[in-house]
Amino acid sequence: MADHTLDVKGLNCPLPILKAKKALKDVPPGGTLQVLATDPGSVKDFEAFCRTTGNELVESTTEGNTFVFVIRHV
């Protein structure tokens, strides 16, 4: 269970990433953010985002048409 949740379903690139970056500002180091997205590009986008920002992609799964990511703020 993540500490915070961000619903960006229906939003296109690059809004899911921009909104996640903004939401992570409110997550303390060590805390987690769950992101719900429907943009099919978001799977690879969040992998790259976490790699370049140093945050940890704890989980990347699919639930129906929704991509679910859990990011730990490092």
Partner: protein, 130 residues
């Protein structure tokens, strides 16, 4: 290792190219990458604070409006808010258009800049022209 800074030379006034520049700049900035955008030629016209019809483009421009793609100016603003994104207005373009900085969208640009300085700064970065 930190990514090389990204330098975007934005000259086109086409909506599609403005949109791609805004997407690249904002994503780069929130990915912990320093980004600088130099706006010149027809592109500067899209940043006119007083314009009503800002974007001119082709098929994809129409599709982006129809599908309510995120506004390019908004993306630039978000990049500045969330990351290290600087924007410069080409001093030559301002002079030729007879504009000063007050004519441009407020709180979006860091100031006027010459091309020589921009190219000098970009020597060790990744350079993209649109």
């Amino acid at each position: 290792m930190a990514s090389a800074p990204l330098y975007i030379l934005l000259c086109s006034g086409e909506h599609e190219k403005l949109q791609m520049a805004a997407m690249m700049a904002s994503v780069g900035a929130v990915s912990e990458r320093a980004v600088e955008v130099f706006v010149s030629m027809n592109a500067i016209l899209a940043f006119d604070a007083g314009t009503g019809e800002r974007y001119k483009g082709g098929t994809f421009s129409a599709l982006m409006r129809e599908r309510r793609a995120p506004d390019a100016i908004t993306l630039f603003r978000q990049g500045r808010e969330l990351g290290d994104l600087k924007m410069w207005a080409c001093s030559m373009a301002l002079d030729v258009a007879g504009w000063d900085m007050d004519r441009l969208e407020p709180d979006l640009f860091d100031g006027p800049l010459g091309l020589t300085k921009f190219l000098s700064d970009a020597e060790n970065g990744q350079f993209v022209t649109l």
